[in-house]
């Protein structure tokens, strides 16, 4: 494994070839915001929150999708990046109906935390207020499209870890919608194994355990790493 030496936010750090900027930064205590990345499954660069500046490059790059290179000089926290991130989060809030006060994960939501850490107290854009449904046909879980940010974590964990590939997106752009199998209700999905991994990795309250009330649900953010480490290294570490 060849080592790469680079600089992130003025700090000299090292990573191994093929490792993403995002991962090297986190290893070194520099936490780049993200919604679509989740440790244990592949990255897709969907949320664009981890965009960083690389010296000598005109374009911003997604830290989760860009491997580190020798001598890179990276900035993760400039005014420009913060402004971009704020806009992205505001767009997410404006796109669907995120009402924290009545949400099952209120107080433990990655989107909410992100907004708070970026100092977002209002949304400058007009809300779209789409009419979206709630699917509670599954015996144990529910899906509230109003709270979905289309990060695709559920799709990837279902495909790569559980192997069921129950989830996918239908449509495109603003009409994208999470679907199970051929678009039937989740409870009627033949492929779903009811393992609940998608529910645990969902950053918001879009996927939730049924029977939970407002602010009651807390997701286990470490379980995926546990399963993946166990599977890959045969080490069962919490």
């Amino acid at each position: 494994m060849s080592v790469r030496t680079l600089e992130i936010d003025g700090k000299a750090v090292t990573g191994v070839a093929g490792q993403s900027i995002f991962s090297v930064a986190w290893d070194n205590g520099i936490h780049i915001p993200r919604l679509c990345h989740v440790g244990g499954v592949s990255d897709v660069g969907a949320c664009r929150l981890c965009m960083v500046e690389v010296e000598g490059q005109r374009k911003l790059v997604a830290a989760c999708m860009t491997p580190v290179e020798e001598g890179m000089v990276i900035r993760t926290n400039t005014e420009q990046l913060l402004a971009h991130r704020r806009l992205i989060v505001e767009l997410l809030f404006a796109e669907r109906n995120h009402i924290c006060a009545v949400c099952v994960v209120n107080g433990a939501c990655e989107l909410q935390d992100l907004a708070a850490s970026l100092g977002i107290d209002h949304v400058r854009l007009r809300y779209r207020f789409p009419t979206l449904s709630v699917d509670t046909s599954h015996e144990r879980f529910g899906l509230d499209h109003n709270r979905c940010v289309l990060c695709s974590r559920c799709i990837r964990v279902c495909d790569e870890v559980e192997g069921a590939h129950t989830w996918d997106f239908s449509g495109r752009g603003v009409n994208s919608l999470l679907i199970s199998d051929l678009g039937e209700a989740w409870g009627e999905s033949e492929s779903c194994t009811s393992c609940g991994k998608c529910v645990q990795v969902c950053p918001t309250g879009a996927l939730f355990a049924k029977g939970k009330m407002v602010s009651e649900m807390r997701k286990d953010r470490r379980f995926l790493k546990y399963i993946v480490t166990a599977r890959e290294k045969h080490e069962w570490v919490r």
Binding site: A101, V102, V104, S133, V134, D135, T136, S137, E139, G142, A185, G187, K210, G211, K212, M213, V214, S215, E216
Partner: protein, 474 residues
């Protein structure tokens, strides 16, 4: 109809309300209306939501009595699941319900009504308020605050939050009670009982000075509706509905709250956004009924706790049979608070309260769920219809203030008749119209609380709409 007096008091606080008093050509009161603009969005925007979210959602209806909405909502949820909640959960729910009754009544009695009662209706308005009270009766004012804090503390200890606690859920509650919590509650009981006994004896000693108010503020026959236990005792959480008439005769008994729509109708009037519930067999508006503290004491035979029973017996002897005077809502609140503290002690002393099995788990087993309980202001019903996947299709809420709506109108009209003389409006008249409303401690669902609330505006208008005189106060 020649002239019209408009009292426009609460516009931004707890909804919007306005009072119109219509004078006839000779300047006498013809009729009065208490208009309410109630925020009814809740019944609409919970559509399509999973019913498990309802207690948390419904607690947002009100910052004064969130617990009642949570309980009625959680009970409607229990009904949808078809489960019996574990004993410890039921005890917790009862405990918090009593605590809320205590804090709500304490505010109403000690801070809103006590100035009228202890300082006199005709004492100057500058002094007839909570500060005048603090000056003349500092100990009563302090005790009132502490009593309210006791209730608030229990809600906070069990519910996690004072204002919008979310701890009851369909099937039970979220967490068990610790011994520390129990001990803290029990330690506060003696002072609370002492406070209430002192307030009761003060109230009894000054009762006779309010002869005029008792006779003329909201004194009219009506039905009274409330929950009682199978033994006919005061009951706030789980019982049967009893209805008595103005003379104390039982009109209907053993009614199942789950079948409320078979005996309660809901009328509407174009001049108010609030519903006008009525007792169906007597029609509208003849089926006017009252709910709340006085109604509960009227329908119950006994309190079921020793101190409150003694007071209740004396109260019933004092006014015999059934009590129609709205003024007695104040006394009823004190007796209810005493009863609540006794029950709180009883429940907190029960080892079963600490049991850790607090939630029954089940899937949805019905498509229609109804929950009811006694809120501080009266009987509350939540009625949900859900689809096969538990999503709310229809929600109907029947709240206490709405059920008192007809009676509040009647009380305002009667009070105005007695205290409005000619085309002039006196402070005394205004005070008493407000006092008539205050008996019911109406809660018109929550609104904003910002600086800049509309002042109390009273307008006297001629038949041509000209404002003849106008009173305004903050």
């Amino acid at each position: 109809m020649a002239e019209r007096i408009i009292i426009n008091p609460v516009t931004r606080i707890e909804g919007h309300a306005k009072i119109s008093i219509y004078l006839d050509d000779s300047g006498r009161v013809d009729s009065a209306q208490f208009h309410v603009v109630e925020f009814r969005g809740f019944e609409k925007f919970c559509q399509g939501r999973p019913f498990h979210e309802m207690p948390g959602l419904m607690s947002r209806i009100c910052g004064i009595c969130p617990v009642s909405h949570i309980l009625a909502s959680a009970k409607a949820g229990d009904h949808l699941l078809g489960v019996q909640v574990p004993p410890a959960a039921e005890k917790q729910r009862r405990l918090v319900n009593y605590a809320q009754l205590l804090q709500s009544h304490a505010l109403s009695f000690f801070h809103l009504s006590a100035p009228d009662l202890l300082l006199g209706f005709d004492s100057p308005v500058e002094k007839r308020n909570v500060f005048g009270l603090a000056e003349k009766h500092p100990e009563t004012a302090r005790r009132g605050i502490r009593l309210r804090q006791f209730g608030q503390r229990i809600v906070e200890l069990l519910g996690g939050k004072k204002i919008h606690p979310a701890w009851a859920t369909p099937g039970g509650v979220l967490s068990a009670v610790s011994t520390d919590t129990r001990d803290e509650i029990l330690a506060c009981v003696p002072e609370a009982i002492d406070t209430l006994q002192k307030a009761l004896s003060t109230m009894k000693s000054i009762m006779d000075t309010f002869h005029d108010e008792i006779e003329h503020i909201g004194n009219f026959p009506s039905l009274f509706l409330g929950t009682v236990s199978r033994e006919g005792e005061l009951e706030y959480y789980n019982g049967l509905i009893r209805i008595v008439d103005g003379e104390g005769n039982i009109v209907a008994d053993g009614l199942d709250p789950l079948r409320y729509h078979t005996f309660l109708g809901e009328a509407s009037e174009e001049w108010s956004f609030m519903k006008f519930p009525y007792y169906k067999p007597l029609g509208y508006p003849g089926g006017m009924y009252r709910v709340g503290p006085l109604a509960r004491l009227n329908v119950a035979r006994w309190a079921g706790t020793s101190l409150a029973d003694r007071e209740l017996r004396e109260f019933k002897q004092r006014i015999r049979e059934s009590v129609c005077q709205s003024f007695h809502y104040h006394m009823a609140r004190l007796i209810e608070m005493l009863h609540a503290v006794e029950r709180i002690e009883e429940i907190a002393s029960d080892a079963e309260l600490l049991d850790t099995h607090v939630c029954a788990r089940a899937g949805q087993n019905r498509n229609e769920g109804i929950g009811s309980c006694e809120a501080p202001r009266g009987t509350l019903f939540h009625h949900y219809t859900v689809d096969d996947h538990g999503l709310i299709q229809k929600a109907n809420l029947l709240i206490a203030t709405a059920q008192n709506n007809l009676a509040i109108n009647k009380a305002v009209e009667q009070t105005a008749r007695r205290f409005v003389a000619g085309n002039t409006m006196t402070e005394g008249m205004l005070n008493r119209v407000e006092a008539a409303i205050r008996c019911y401690d109406p809660c018109l669902s929550c609104s904003t609380h910002a600086i800049g609330q509309m002042p109390l505006v009273v307008e006297l208008k001629s038949s041509t709409g000209d404002v003849l005189s106008r009173i305004e106060r903050g």
